[in-house]
Amino acid sequence: MLGFNAELFQSRYMSAQRDGLITSNLPEVSVGTTNQRSSGGRAHWSTAGFFGRINYNYKERYMAEVNARYDGTSRFVGDKRWNIFPSFSAGWNIAREEFWEDKLDYLSTFKLRGSWGELGNQNTKSLYPFYQTLPFGVTDGSWLVDGLKPNTAGVPGLVSTAMTWERVRSWNIGLDVAALNNRLTASFDYFNRKTLDMIGPAPELPDILGTSVPKVNNCDLESNGFEMEIAWRDRIGEVGYGVRGVLSDSRQKVTRFPNATNSISTYYAGRLFGEIWGYETIGIAKSQEEMDAHLAHTNQNALGSNWGAGDIMYKDLNGDGKIDGGAGTLGNTGDKKIIGNSTPRFNFGLTLDAQWKGFDISLFFQGVGKRDYAVGGAYFWGATGGQWQSAGFEEHWDFFRPEGDPLGANLDAYYPRPLFSGEGKNQQTQTKYLQSAAYVRLKNAQIGYTFPSEWMSKARIQSLRLFVSGDNLFTISSMSKIFDPEAIGGGWGDGKLYPLARVISFGLNVNF
């Protein structure tokens, strides 16, 4: 098969607005009296592509496919615009071989699959990333001239004409199995994906440039992972039941990035996604003497001052007698090391269900097997940055208090002493406060009863089912109870988002 496709996206908008309706019975622009505003704009982008495909299928036994695409986009220019992306795949269903026929009852599917291919990705939100545009604003200046906001215009940023397609090159092998009269089904996939010429963070340049460095296709990324699914479905007497489990995992690694200074604050070759750099904690000093003894051989001045009882003692990993982050470059990271990884690993799900007569029950668990998280902000620490940006939850009560404190001593506290200024010295990313965000959660449980159809047909009802369902019923996690391991982040800081709700619902399904 050969084909051609072309897409053109065009948008156009206009709006007009006035406030102060003379009467709310006439909600029309012309009835408004104040604050007249209008706006409008247009945009367009297009893609075009040629593709060809050859399929081969021999008795569902041998399968092969060859694909090729030649794609172009309006978002890139010149020789960066077009690119060719081939892909191949093949499969062999051993169960369809003649020599297998007598075993079909035991193993109806045993299919090996494999593929290799490249796909293109236009990783830019900008419709015209190679055009330098001059930002201008209409009556948006805050420096009033003649009592009014003036129009403004600003310096355009740098753009790159070198931006082009990212090539996602991947291969995978897989196995599909159906056995024991299809009671057992399983599939397994292993994949390797290389994102070549990825648009990564802009390279670092001396600040005298005076503007941000344009992003270009400057790095390679490799990810490896697997997905597997095993399901069992059977019936014992009148009880039907099923179990289904899924498990997946993947890791991403930067394999190429131009990091001239080897800075650890951006990509570098060999960096795993989600790496957390931090200090190693010795503990909280229980007394001034303990802190002084620690400071005698470990100078913590680079992190702050006024160290005392209730402050953190950090470990001098490089043995230079002081705690700092070095030059922040690979090989000179001072006392920082990789203390964890925030990528959620081993995501899993487990569904259990059973039916007996009219009753049915199902449970769905989900979770993450391994994940570290360095939580920050007021929700985690409690006291941060003065009265306007601090929080006081029950967990925060476990802060350090010395002997003789009117609130009672708490020498083995989880949190250091609360400070309203200079608190950053105790709130460095560090091993003591690294959280495990691994969890198992009963995401949904349901019990239902379907009334026998003989009864219902008398009432001219096809089916009637009553059920009770619960979402987010319980969670097992070692993470601080302030946070939900399924929803940690948030636009305003860690934990500052609308929480997942525990929902219990009763329902009735009726079909006529």
Binding site: F4, A6, G41, A43, H44, S46, T47, F50, G72, T73, S74, R81, W82, I84, L127, Y128, Y131, Q132, T133, L134, F136, G141, W143, L144, V145, D146, G147, K149, P150, N151, T152, A153, G154, V155, P156, E204, L205, P206, D207, I208, L209, G210, A260, T261, N262, S263, N301, A302, L303, S305, G308, D324, G325, A327, G328, T329, G331, P406, S421, G422
Partner: protein, 671 residues
């Protein structure tokens, strides 16, 4: 192979193209912005230039929930806030940054981009509009580049001189990062200001809300004095190019640099005097009356034009104002200055050192024999018969806080607001009244005030002239004497400054500016500095004045003090309805009450940083470290310009004296 495919594809494409009515695929994919402006389409009219320039007005003005520019003198010997500044006044607490800081070039690039785009078009006459206006807006951009460079000069000293935009090329950028000696930077600023003065008009559309030729002259006067006095007082140290230990000396690219420092000083002081004189003759000082409060029968304004100058809604016609920012409720550009001032102290307060520096109306310092000083029993007594500026701008409990037709409300209820919550508190007991409004139309709730903010005013030119003249000549010429008398006349003090000089005893002056380089200056120069301090108080000049005068070497365990809390009758002001005294001095605290004022055992005067000892690095007072005369450059700038990553000191950029290269390390004293 690709080529074959391409040509094959071309044919297919043509066939498909016919269907689509397009002539080829590439035309189909050529999509340029439909509603965005490319630089080639801009800079064609004078209003384009005006819109660009006004975007880069980057001046300190009122904004948000605070007392605006009147808080800029915090952390000096003039003014203090509640929290204090550890980084400035505790040795070792200011640490080298990891990235960012003053080593930034965004607005400089914006100006250079403008010149690259606009100057050729101006030359070819391609910009529509009147030549006066076109030139004016080009002049504004020269002013803006000069202003940006002046911020760099004050913060960092030596700095790269950059006149063009640079490509994103590491080698080019590294080469351009080389620092130039500060006197060259200052000369570059003056050149830009000369261009601005040549191109600009004094009557642009928008009046004194826009930059003008006069504003450029004033800035020139300020910059020239800054550099002239810096070189004078820092001469012979690592803080001047060519001085002993100057870090530029070890750079290969500066090996041919020479300087005749005395002629440089003369050059800058001369430039200052010339520019100052031009401004001073244009801007008459706003008159002051001897009225210090509005009365029930008066209007909210008009009782003292000098006081009104700082809270006028329209400053256009005020003779002394050179450049100001306007605010407007309907435009949603507002500030909170009077809300916080009327609420108490707005988290600031004048120091005893400042208040004591004001002269008596008879021209004598308060300590002089027969000065007539009324003592410190109350703040009212402190203010009696003093310089009108003290009477106007420092609030006492009986001063008026809010004016309403037919009634006035004094500060009494809250003054001095030393026990309020931090954002309303007066840290020292001497509350600020400069910039307070009595206009009932100004809504005093939150940040909704709409009166203007002065950026430049004429009095500074008078002061700059006098100072430059005296540093240069060691005596005052007729013009200086006239300027000084005018300033004193407005302040309602005896215009005979020689009387003041004769009565000045530097040992009795609690003023950092008594010193340069740790040595006392002469009484005349000190009184010139006193005049500047008293006139420009709370206008954000003090910190940079102290740095250029090198007036901080001697600061060690210096206690900031406020009003006389324990030695007079003021302590009786702080009672609740039942008459219970609310003051909890340090040392009398208990489990359920923390101290809220300093102890009378240490001082009769309120010491805002000696109230709580725990975690308080300022408890033993302010101490200076000489490295802080200039800011440090952040670590990352060395790293990215080093030939070998990690070897910071191999960078073409050198660190300022006394600062290490590595992030989070403290500076040290420069000998």
């Amino acid at each position: 192979m690709t080529k074959n495919i391409k040509s094959y594809i071309k044919y297919t494409c043509l066939a498909a193209g016919v269907l689509f009515g397009a002539s080829s695929c590439n035309d189909f994919l050529d999509r340029s912005p439909l509603d965005q402006v490319t630089p080639q389409q801009y800079f064609n009219t004078e209003s384009d230039l005006a819109a660009y320039a006004v975007k880069y007005y980057n001046f300190s003005t009122h904004s948000g929930f605070n007392i605006g520019v009147f808080a800029l003198d915090n952390h000096t010997d003039n003014q203090a806030n509640v929290g204090g500044s550890n980084s400035r006044w505790v040795p070792g607490e200011w640490r080298v940054g990891e990235s960012g800081g003053s080593w930034a070039f965004g607005n400089i690039r914006a100006a250079n981009y403008f010149f690259e785009q606009v100057n050729p078009k101006v030359k070819e006459g391609k910009i529509s509009g009147t030549p006066t206006n076109i030139n004016h807006y080009v002049g504004e951009m020269y002013f803006i580049r000069a202003w940006e460079y002046f911020q760099k000069l004050q913060a960092l000293g030596d700095f790269p001189i950059l006149k063009r935009t640079l490509p994103d090329d590491h080698a080019v950028l590294t080469e351009a990062s080389k620092r130039r000696p500060r006197n060259e930077v200052a000369r570059f600023i003056l050149q830009d200001l000369d261009s601005a003065i040549f191109l600009m008009t004094n009557k642009p559309a928008g009046g004194k809300n826009r930059l003008t030729k006069n504003a450029a002259l004033l800035l020139k006067s300020r910059v020239a004095l800054y550099e002239g006095s810096w070189l004078t007082y820092h001469k012979g140290t690592a803080f001047v190019p060519g001085g002993p230990g100057w870090p530029g000396a070890k750079m290969d690219y500066l090996k041919d640099f020479t300087i005749d420092i005395d002629s440089e000083i003369n050059f800058f002081l001369d430039e200052c005097m010339k520019a100052s004189e031009e401004v001073a003759k244009e801007f008459q000082l706003t008159k002051s009356t001897d009225v210090t409060n509005p009365s029930e029968s008066s209007s909210f304004n008009g009782w003292n034009p000098y006081f009104d100058m700082f809270n006028a809604t329209n400053m256009e016609d005020i003779s002394e104002v050179i450049f100001w920012r306007a605010y407007s409720g309907s435009q949603n550009v507002t500030h909170g200055v009077s809300h916080y001032m009327a609420a108490g102290g707005g988290n600031s307060g004048f120091t005893r050192s400042l208040v004591d520096s004001y002269l008596m109306e008879n021209g004598l310092p308060i300590y002089a024999a027969n000065s007539g000083y009324h003592g410190e029993q109350t703040i009212e007594k402190v203010k009696e018969d003093r310089d009108i500026r003290l009477q106007l701008f420092v609030a006492a409990p009986t001063d008026v806080r809010v004016w309403k037709a037919g009634s006035v409300e004094p500060f009494k209820k809250i003054a001095p607001a030393i026990l309020e919550k931090a954002e309303n508190r007066c840290a020292t007991g001497y509350q600020i009244r400069k910039g307070l409004t009595y206009d009932p139309a100004q809504n005093l709730s939150g940040a909704t005030q709409t009166y203007g903010c002065i950026v430049f005013r004429g009095a500074e030119a008078y002061l700059n002239y006098i100072e430059a003249n005296y540093i240069k000549n060691g005596s005052l010429n007729g013009t200086s004497q006239e300027y000084w008398r005018k300033l004193r006349e407005r302040a309602q003090i005896d215009t005979d400054f020689n009387k003041t000089i004769a009565a000045t005893d530097l040992n009795k002056e609690n003023d950092w500016a008594v010193y340069s380089a740790g040595v006392k200056v002469d009484a005349t120069l000190y009184n010139i500095r006193r005049e500047r301090r008293n006139e420009l108080v709370a206008e954000g000049m003090r910190w940079n004045d102290l740095r250029r005068w090198r007036a901080l070497d001697q600061v060690k365990n210096y206690q900031i003090e406020g009003f006389n809390l324990w030695g007079g009758s003021m302590q009786d002001h702080f009672t609740d309805e039942t008459g219970k005294n609310l003051l909890i001095p340090t040392g009398t605290e208990s489990a359920d009450q923390t101290p809220n004022v300093s102890s009378p055992k240490n001082s009769d005067y309120l010491r805002p940083y000696q109230i709580i000892n725990d975690n308080n690095l300022l408890y033993s007072g302010y101490s200076w470290q000489t490295c802080k005369y200039l800011d440090p450059i952040a670590q990352n700038h060395f790293n990215i310009t080093s030939p070998t990553p990690g070897d910071l000191e191999s960078s073409v950029i050198y660190q300022n004296p006394g600062w290490p290269y590595q992030a989070n390390q403290s500076g040290f004293d420069v000998k």
